[in-house]
């Protein structure tokens, strides 16, 4: 499973992408964030405040409670701020 980080999440974690193989007990986006938080102090800091984090499963905006079963790419990022004005 490929994990992507954008904006300040990438900066706090120090990488933009990593391949991981979480155990079968990790079934939702929330559980995945718990599990990823243990990988480093940067991960823990990045995932500290879940309200600030949005997730996409295979490039589709997803709630934190959704299952990640079968997902190939999961991305974490802050609320988007594109456009202008």
């Amino acid at each position: 499973m490929n994990i992507l980080y954008f904006a300040w999440l990438r900066e706090r974690i120090g990488i933009g992408e990593e391949a991981v193989s979480p155990p079968d007990t990790i079934q939702t986006v929330n559980q995945l964030m718990d599990w990823l938080s243990q990988r480093s102090a940067g991960h823990a800091a990045a995932f500290a405040d879940r309200k600030l984090i949005r997730a996409a499963i295979d490039q589709i905006h997803s709630n934190h409670s959704l299952p990640i079963t079968g997902a190939k790419e999961i991305a974490f990022f802050p609320p988007v701020t594109g456009g202008l004005a």
Binding site: R10, A56, Q59, P79, V80, G82, G83
Partner: protein, 159 residues
């Protein structure tokens, strides 16, 4: 027509895009366009008063294009549109450069206006782009505005 969607690092000329867009829609009486452009801050941001010297846009390649595609499909379901064009920049943005351009073509002006504004509102809350501003105090990620969420939400109840 299939929407013309581009996510690109290169600067573009909004007038040139509008000319191309109208030329490819000779049967449409109404053309609406919106451009979000990088202000020439001249020291400080008019809206916030902050001093800004540079701006950069991070984005999620692949998902950005996909989200814009989904938004155009949604707009086409809501309004009778002939065509849509969206160009969104990423990377380093210089003052006065265009950041995002949205154009809609329709038989009627009300539909062209509504769809263009809908696309801008939704794009701001759905398309995976993140702004980073550099000023004298360093570099900072821009926080999402509540007002953008509520502008996008008003389209949920309508139509």
């Amino acid at each position: 027509m299939t929407p013309d969607i581009r996510v690109q690092r290169e600067d573009f000329d909004q007038g040139h895009e509008l000319s191309k867009f109208s030329a490819r829609n000779p049967l449409s009486g109404a053309i609406c366009s919106f451009t979000g452009q990088m202000r020439d801050f001249q020291g400080h941001d008019r809206a916030t008063g902050k001093i800004i010297t540079a701006m950069e846009l991070d984005h999620y390649p692949g998902m950005a294009e996909r989200q814009l595609q989904d938004l155009t499909r949604e707009a086409q379901q809501r309004w009778p549109l002939d065509d849509i064009c969206i160009v969104h920049r990423f990377g380093v943005l210089k003052p006065t450069e265009a950041i995002v351009f949205v154009a809609t073509a329709s038989a009627h002006r009300g539909d062209a206006f509504a769809a263009c504004e809908f696309l801008m509102d939704w794009l701001k809350t759905k398309a995976p782009f993140w702004k980073k501003e550099t000023g004298p105090g360093g570099t900072q990620w821009v926080e999402a505005k509540e007002s953008d969420e509520s502008r996008a939400e008003r389209w949920q109840s309508r139509s």
